[in-house]
Symmetry: C2
Subunit: 181 residues, 2 copies
């Protein structure tokens, strides 16, 4: 069965980015030399699903950071909006969460990295997330793009483990117990 997995950094007050996508509060953290598990996590997935906001934020990095295939969920972008040099690895789709997962399942994917606030929310609401790795950044930014949003009912989670780092980052893994939908 194909499953969705979240690996994301959030401020203490629950934001994944400032309102316009800025990550300065995150990138300023003195985390040199710390292994927060990103490489191991990335090695465990078949590819990524993200939304337009995350995609456009990543494009501003200059160099495309992903070797694995990426699916961008957007109602406003098309395949033509993908820079030619990464068009073989990036697919824009207007499918919804369940349809995207069905499509990727058909392509042989088993573990999907689900990234970005809105996409994580929609996958959670559709019961498509199996596990979340949340890294709490020791800063309150007051407002921004929230990781979590409205749900049809409570979602119980099982705490798997927590690791702390000298920088102050705290990483907790949770398994979703009662996926909604």
């Amino acid at each position: 069965m194909i499953t969705g997995h979240v690996f994301i950094a959030i401020s203490l007050d629950g934001f994944v980015a400032r309102k316009r996508g800025d990550l300065d509060w995150l990138t300023k953290q003195p985390t040199d030399g710390e292994d927060h598990g990103y490489d191991a996590f990335m090695a465990s997935v078949d590819g990524l699903v993200m939304g337009r906001v995350s995609f456009q934020a990543v494009l501003t990095f200059g160099q495309w950071p992903y070797e694995k295939p990426v699916v961008v969920m957007s109602h406003t972008l098309s395949q033509d909006d993908v820079p030619p040099e990464i068009r073989d690895r990036v697919t824009v789709t207007r499918l919804g969460p369940a349809e995207v997962m069905k499509m990727l399942d058909g392509q042989g994917w088993r573990r999907v990295y689900v990234d970005g606030g809105k996409v994580v929310q929609s996958f959670l609401r559709n019961g498509l997330i199996e596990e979340m790795t949340l890294t709490r950044i020791p800063v309150l930014i007051g407002e921004g793009l929230p990781l979590f949003g409205a749900l049809d009912h409570d979602v119980d989670c099982e705490h798997l483990d927590t690791r702390t780092f000298p920088s102050g980052l705290v990483t907790s893994r949770y398994r979703i117990l009662n996926a909604p939908g």
Copy 2:
């Protein structure tokens, strides 16, 4: 110097209660036999400051749980709204956060337990919180009363320590580094 201290449980999505104050998602947690540090924390403070919502929620518990003095910040309640049997330990005030702290300082308080979402937010905005102990409950409730709110600028925190419990609760202590205001 008098300082404010937060000790509070929050859902994974950052709420301290459901919209009408319900704590069922918290009280249902199987935490028997775990010491999350509440008694030690309570022993370390001179008393509590809370808002109307927290006060009225505590009143529904039946038995008043606090031996230490409690200050209730409210613009709608008066001292007459305090049940007679606890009127010697509960003071209703319309003062703002800084004025409340000045008043308590004059009464010899040194460490104040600042409780409830709105009151914590206003004390944070006024630079009156020194330390926060946040206990993450492994459940997403979708909506409710948030612990954190808007700020004039980022508030950097220093992670002091984190403890995990068999129930899945994760308790992290943070020192506020750059109190605003």
